[in-house]
């Protein structure tokens, strides 16, 4: 499995030059009213790196990754994505959103458009791509997620697993630099989880920079370069999956792992 090792080497190389940072979060804080939801978050994600984020419900995992494409606003600190700093500037936000794909827990496909139209919409309207080219790219990615035959159906006619794979293809059609996943398999029945994870593993092996919020620890072991454990809006522990699972340092992490791994 050469693909398993390759990115790790890249990570070590990349550590030398900051230009290879995909995402940089410096002292990021966020509040919902009085509620301090993100506290002093410092995180550097290298290009081609795969990061899995886990933690108890309400710990701020979703909020953290949603700050990266500005679905949530942070109130202090800096977030730099692909060399562009997130500010109030709408143009910069749109620039970053073009480079960052996102997959949601509840798929959020557009129900009034066919699968193919879901996939071609953003390339056509955001990247101003000719329709024919956009459709070719869409079919390419629908094949990658193994549902080209569903292209002309509407999302409501697909199973949950199929919908989530369409959602992944839809994001990939924008040729993003970074992919964010927010619990992509938690709304799925067990037999559908695997078909989505398989697609994600393949994507990871192709070298995509990924931040994945998930409780699928098998997936974390298999593809993650780093695992981050969050609690109460803070990063509690961050380590390679081997170390993280076999030798967790913090008491909080040990407790959490004992609860989810039985």
């Amino acid at each position: 499995m050469t693909t398993q090792n390759a990115p790790r080497e890249i990570v070590e190389d990349a550590a030398a030059s900051a230009g290879d940072l995909a995402v940089q979060m410096i002292e990021v804080n966020k509040w919902y009213g009085d509620f301090h939801v993100l506290r002093d978050i410092n995180l550097e994600v290298f290009r081609r790196e795969r990061i899995v984020i886990c933690g108890p419900s309400g710990s701020g995992k979703s909020t953290l990754i949603r700050c990266i494409n500005r679905l949530e606003e942070h109130q202090s600190g800096r977030i730099i994505v692909d060399g562009v700093e997130l500010t109030e500037d709408v143009k910069k936000i749109e620039e970053i959103r073009r480079e960052v794909g996102m997959v949601f827990q509840h798929f959020n496909l557009f129900p009034h458009l066919t699968v193919l139209e879901n996939c071609t919409l953003a390339p056509i309207w955001v990247k101003r791509m000719p329709k024919k080219e956009a459709e070719e790219i869409a079919m390419h990615f629908l094949e990658k997620v193994r549902i080209p035959e569903q292209a002309h159906k509407y999302p409501g006619q697909l199973s949950g697993g199929q919908q989530q794979r369409v959602a992944i293809a839809r994001s990939l059609c924008m040729k993003p630099q970074i992919m964010l996943f927010d619990e992509p398999t938690s709304a799925l029945d067990p037999e559908m989880i695997k078909e989505v994870l398989d697609v994600m593993v393949e994507l990871a092996e192709s070298g995509m920079t990924m931040l994945v919020v998930t409780h699928e620890m098998g997936f974390a072991r298999q593809v993650a370069d780093r695992v981050i454990f969050m609690d109460q809006g803070q990063i509690v522990e961050m380590n390679t999956p081997d170390e993280f699972f076999s030798n967790p340092k913090s008491e909080r992490t040990k407790l959490f792992l004992s609860q989810i791994l039985h």
């Binding site: 494409n69 679905l71 749109e94 959103r97 073009r98 960052v100 794909g101 996102m102 949601f104 509840h106 959020n108 496909l109 557009f110 129900p111 009034h112 066919t114 919409l121 953003a122 309207w125 955001v126 509407y154 999302p155 409501g156 006619q157 959602a167 839809r170 994001s171 924008m174």
Partner: protein
Amino acid sequence: MTTETRRIVFYRDEMLPPKPPPPATTGVIGWMRRNLFSDWWNTLLTFIGLYIIWLIVSWLVDFAILSAVFTGEDRNACLPKNGVEVGACWAFVNARFNQFMDGFYPTDQEWRYLLLYAVGIVLLVPLLIPKAPYKGLNALLLFGAYPLLAYLLLYGAPSLGLPVVETTQWGGLLLTLVIASVGIVISLPLGILFALGRRSELPVIRFLSIVFIEFWRGVPLITVLFMSSVMLPLFLPEDVTLDKVIRPLVGVALFAAAYMAEVVRGGLQAIPKGQYEAAQALGLTYWRMMGLIILPQALKLVIPGIVNTFIGLFKDTSLVSIIGLFDLLGIVQSALSDPKWSTPTTAATAYLFLALTYWLFCFGMSRYSIFMERYLHTGHKR
């Protein structure tokens, strides 16, 4: 019962052929038996209902057709014959039909609005048929070129050899249709804008939208019309004169826009947050997100409400007769005061004619909305 007598193994060599259902639980007879004649009380109610329907229908048929007068030159045709009152005096409607259609539009210029109707139908019908091609071009012609053509044809352009017909000469169904269609075409986009404004994150825009919507919703349309015809001229500089038809037209359109805004807002509220987030995450700008993702779904949800507002607007146009415009209601009412046609049944006939005409248009809109809902529902599941 003991376990010995219970069959626990079973198999079948021959398959059962389908049998017809027991008699008369299906079909018209079955339906009637279940719903109309299930017991003596129900049967009694059914007969009373039938009797009432019979009374109304037979009276209506007699009045409107059997004892109606269809031709005649003046009131003499419709006066009681041998002491017996005649039915509807269609001769009156017939004699005034032309005026009911266009008010005081010059007779030799009538071809202009007839042509406009024809072009309108040619442009509107394919736009309403979902499967007809060239929707974009079609819409552009109907909403871009057609209003210009309507202005040139209806009002006139001496340079093109079309003599000017002042709006004071417009009337009847023509005026009703002008006010209704301009109102419809203005109120929908304006209503959408104010609905979006009311949900905007920018406080100033949200505030202005709320002020607009609540102002127009809080004032009766009659008041608006009186204000536009009596008070507005007082506030305008003396050399500015707003057309007598345009003033109430703007009033009707803005009034409907406020209602439309609330209907559309209801639709917007039904769209899950995830749809906005997915659109934003793909990098769509605000207007693209709204135009491509949110509004198509939201508007589809509120088609009944939108058409309801259209129907209300169509009927509300009749209020302009109160401020002295001769729309369909106004012109018919003014014709009633003509002594040449004063007979016992003239007024009833005229109002029957009015009701039928308004009903035809409103019923048409209502049927189309039902068709559209069904079409969009089967178009894509869920």
